[in-house]
Amino acid sequence: MGSDLADIPKWAQRYARNRTLGVAWMLAVVLVVPCAMTGLALVCGWVFRRGQRSLGVAGAVFLVGLTVWWVWFLAVGVRRFAAYLSGRLYTEEGTALAAGGAPCVAGRATRWIGPLFGACVGATVVLVGLGSIPLRLMQPVTALYGVPFLVYLVLVQRQAASPFLLLWPFLYAVHAALIVAGVPLNVPERYAGLDVVIPMAGYGLLAALLGHAYSRYALWRLRRLTRSPEGAAR
């Protein structure tokens, strides 16, 4: 087989697997919304304490609505949103779907993996609320189940997902290990929820952006390999 031509499927696959800009944008939203909600909650409390109670209550009601929407988004809308973003962001390049994945295995496993992950999150929230888990250690505790969950999600789709996404759980685990070792990576206690959100979405965003950068290189290689005399003469 001609060596240049033999490389076409490899680079096509690498390009398609690393079209992660949709994931990056989705994680940017996942990063920004909880930060905005935390900020809004602080402002509502401040306004309420200053005597403008109706404004504080209105803000709190808005915050409750935003929280309901957020839960729906994470449970239902997030996948559709990523697919929509991916389609929009790569409009100029067209659509290429990576082969592979293991949909039957993923389908069976997600029946119990998803609820199990949700139960772990719920248990963490309750235990932190009861004071059984110190706020400082909330991120390392979530890493105990979050890291295997993310590794599973990437590996189960290993033929279709960007390998760069494995950086996500790796960096999250390193972050957890550093906190346990006493490195001061925690945010102030009043923003404690962001201790989990910032590294979870931030490292995911970083991994997705690296995947996207690699997809640019893969597309450049692919175009060099696939330009036929007809295409080159265009």
Partner: protein
């Protein structure tokens, strides 16, 4: 000795087949921009590959816009493998 399949042996169609062999599916726009072909040129090549049964075509709507996707058929995969076997055989007989 087997002759190389003329439907695949043409340089542009060979590149299309190789490109599709690395993917689950690709749409018309991706193929046209990646290969650097005009719509008309790509259409005629895809028509030939479809007629030969080497690619499967799926047409769907994204909102109001039609989108045509292609994937290599089982016959296309086996023909591509047979093509490279034929090419290897030709190369092995070269003095």
């Amino acid at each position: 000795m087997n002759e190389p399949d003329p439907e695949i042996h043409q340089p542009t169609r060979l590149r299309i087949m190789m490109l599709l062999s690395g993917l689950k599916a690709a749409d018309f726009k991706f193929l046209a921009t990646t290969l650097g072909l005009t719509d008309g040129n790509l259409s005629s090549h895809m028509q030939r590959l479809e007629t030969a049964g080497y690619v499967e075509v799926a047409k769907e709507f994204e909102g109001r816009l039609p989108r045509t996707s292609f994937r290599l058929s089982a016959r296309g995969k086996s023909s591509l493998a047979a093509y490279w076997r034929a090419m290897d055989a030709i190369r092995s007989t070269r003095p």
